[in-house]
């Protein structure tokens, strides 16, 4: 079945093409068709997994070349797919979670005027992500990378009639493009250093890299990863991306797009390994982002924006894990996060569906009695996110913190604080949305079954996902991935104690959320009034966006205005129009010759003849 690996990206791509070409005619079956292609991809992925497991562990790395794509000079970039444990785990996560989100969307987007186009984009999104994770060279990976960026733009701005949505789409595209440019430079540098862009050639030779080159390549690649994965300082597009339909947010946050950065760092680990500086930067970016996004999440009043900052924070954990060399743990957290974040987003979608799109938690509350199942599933997702034992998030986050502890005490401590923040903000979101007295007029109701089944399956995944990796040494997924773990050489607290502390902090965060927002012992509405400045700072993500607006966007706009209205309109247009005016003037003077009087022409003719005659005679 490994020979049929091309089917995995080809199926969703085919679906996208069919829906784009004949969307109008396929309107009735668009959702079903799109879901089917992704579902079939998942099945193919499972069959390939079976074949791969049948191979001995050391030869679980198969490549299949489909055709030569670019072959110019020394540059060889074939369309070559790579099947190894890492890419297969990504394939299964993307297609599995993606499939559930497709099914959910069938009901959520029902009746939308652009229903077929939505599923075309969704399919294209999955196809691009699969290309990204299956590529066996950096150029093909970049194709998927940009494809993902394009689809995120199309889907975030799907309801482009709303200006906010159109702007958010553009912002996502432009901000990630900044990172993509760095990544492209990194790929250029890889080619000029190694003379090849194929993974096998590059990673095989990565050990002998000069540290400076390794650092340069790593940091450029990290730039791309930071943009795509919404890490500091290029995270600002993700909270705004909440303008898209909720299932799109689920897809972006759980299966596609933001996990691409983590995948890239893990995939390019041999290069990062050659540069301790770069690895350190990865870890620091990750942990600072985790802390920053956790803080910002507390200040959000919009349920989806809480989840958005939560994603930024969780991806930060993945970067932290990758930065301290615990690659398998990073991927494990990626998988676990895919489950519980998709679950949280889809339940948030249920809320949105039930309340006519009301997502402001200040106007929600008291949904639990009306929507018991949604409430329960959101709670499961929230507990997993907070890292409470038996849920998937507990195991992965625990292992990340243990790895961080081995990597450095400060990393661990900051990560631990972020755990507490996580517990607090998700408890706040849960209680404000579902508990207490209703602060709205709507009559919420549970969604139809087609939306409930994906939620149910994701809930099962969230609870059982932890079984994949009970510990960093013996976990199923870790053993399968075989990515070489960082040594747990550091003394001090044992892993058990680290786990207990992390869980304690998470529980404390949850308890604080409970105490502030539901117990009635604290008047949280009064607190909001009292600490207005703090609340606003958190709500605006510590003003990072405003700083960019002031120091990047405004100067850029001023420069554009200068080149548009002064350079273009005055200088360039002036030169062109001036030239035109000169000739128009000459023509206006010259056309007087054309009198229309035959006799004056005859005079000119005669004079000309006489002059020619004189010249000829004069020369002889």
């Amino acid at each position: 079945m490994i020979d049929q690996i091309w089917l995995v990206p080809a199926l969703p791509l085919g679906g996208a093409v069919a829906l784009l070409v004949a969307g109008r005619r396929l309107r009735g079956v668009a959702g079903g068709l799109a879901s089917l292609t992704v579902g079939l991809s998942f099945v193919v992925g499972l069959l390939i997994l079976r074949d791969l497991l049948a191979l001995p562990a050391e030869s679980r790395e198969v490549t299949r070349t489909l055709f030569d794509w670019i072959a110019v000079g020394a540059l060889r970039a074939p369309v070559e797919l790579r099947v190894d444990p890492l890419s297969l785990v990504m394939v299964l996560t993307v297609t599995g979670v993606g499939f559930l989100i497709h099914v959910y969307s069938m009901e959520y987007l029902h009746g939308d005027p652009r229903y077929p186009r939505y599923f075309a984009y969704l399919n294209l999104f999955v196809a691009a992500m699969l290309t990204l994770v299956l590529a066996n060279n950096f150029v093909l990976l970049y194709v998927g990378w940009e494809g993902v960026g394009l689809c995120s733009y199309l889907l975030i701005a799907f309801w482009f009639e709303r200006k906010a949505a159109a702007d958010a789409g553009k912002k996502a595209f432009i901000v990630t493009r900044i990172g993509d440019t760095a990544m492209l430079l990194g790929i250029f540098l890889i080619f000029s250093t190694f003379g090849s862009v194929r993974f096998d050639d590059v990673f095989g030779a990565a050990g002998g890299l000069a540290p400076a080159t390794a650092t340069a390549i790593s940091l450029l690649l990290l730039g791309g990863a930071v943009g795509k994965s919404a890490q500091l300082p290029l995270h600002t597009w993700l909270p705004d991306a909440m303008e898209g339909p909720t299932p799109v947010s689920a897809l972006i946050h759980a299966a596609t797009m933001v996990t691409a950065g983590v995948y890239l760092v893990v995939r390019a680990a041999p290069i990062f390994e050659a540069s301790p500086v770069a690895l350190g930067v990865v870890a620091v970016v990750g942990v600072v982002t985790a802390l920053y996004a956790g803080l910002s999440a507390i200040g959000q009043d919009d349920l989806k924006r809480v989840l958005a900052y939560s994603t930024i924070s969780q991806i930060g954990y993945m970067f932290l894990a990758a930065g301290v060399g615990a690659y398998a743990v990073a991927i494990f957290h990626l998988v676990a996060h895919a489950f519980f974040k998709a679950l949280l987003f889809l339940t948030a979608g249920n809320v949105s569906h039930a309340t006519d799109g009301e997502m402001n938690m200040m106007r929600l509350g008291g949904l639990a009695p009306r929507m018991p199942r949604t409430t329960a599933f959101f709670a499961v997702g929230a507990l997993a996110l907070a890292g409470i034992p038996i849920f998937a998030g507990f195991f992965s986050k625990d292992q990340i913190l243990a790895a961080a502890y081995a990597g450095g005490f400060v990393l661990w401590l900051v990560g631990l604080i972020a755990v507490g923040l996580t517990g607090f903000y998700i408890a706040r979101a849960f209680f404000l949305t579902f508990a207490g007295r209703p602060r709205h007029q709507a009559h919420p109701h549970e969604p139809p079954p087609l939306m409930n089944i994906p939620v149910l399956l994701l809930g099962v995944g969230t609870v059982a996902g932890g079984l994949l990796g009970l510990s960093a040494e013996t976990g199923t997924i870790h053993g399968f991935l075989e990515l070489g773990e960082a040594g747990h050489a550091r003394g001090g607290l044992s892993e058990l104690w680290l786990g207990v502390i992390a869980t304690g902090v998470a529980v404390a965060g949850l308890a604080l959320g409970w105490r502030v927002y539901i117990s009635g012992r604290v008047d949280w509405q009064a607190l909001r009034e009292r600490y207005v400045a703090l609340r606003r700072a958190l709500a605006r993500g510590l003003y990072v966006d405003d700083v960019y607006g002031r120091f990047v966007v405004l100067p850029a706009k001023a420069t554009s205005a200068f080149s548009a209205f002064v350079v273009d309109q005055r200088v360039i247009d002036g030169a062109v129009n001036g030239l035109g005016r000169v000739f128009a003037g000459l023509a206006r003077a010259g056309r007087r010759v054309q009198t229309g009087l035959v006799r004056s022409y005859a005079v000119a003719y005669l004079l000309g003849a006489v002059i020619v005659l004189l010249v000829v005679l004069g020369r002889t």
């Binding site: 056309r591 054309q594 009198t595 229309g596 009087l597 035959v598 006799r599 005079v603 005669l606």
Partner: protein, 101 residues
């Protein structure tokens, strides 16, 4: 004794000048046309004078060509003048000045 060639050339030059002046100063298309014929024939005259003077037949051949062309030109030119006259009830060339700035 032969008439010297200078006499022929002088007559030719006088005729040509009359034709040229006629083309330039007259307004009636028919008169201009006649003046052009005068110029052509002045040239023909000098051609034949040279032909006789040099004892070569080339000049006469050229004169015949010139006469054939002149005849064809008269046919076309008169047709144009007639059709302009039908349209405008005038043969004044200064009235035909549509192709001006």
């Amino acid at each position: 004794m032969r008439t010297p060639i200078a006499y022929f050339l002088l007559l030719s030059a006088v005729l040509f000048t009359i034709g040229t002046v006629g083309v330039l100063v007259r307004r009636n298309a028919l008169v201009i046309f006649m003046s052009i014929e005068l110029q052509l024939n002045a040239v023909n005259l000098s051609l034949i004078a040279f032909s006789r003077h040099l004892g070569q037949v080339d000049g006469q051949v050229l004169a015949f060509f010139s006469m054939v062309v002149a005849a064809a030109e008269v046919v076309v030119g008169l047709a144009i003048i007639v059709s302009i006259f039908r349209r405008r009830v005038s043969a004044n060339v200064d009235d035909v000045n549509l192709l001006r700035w």
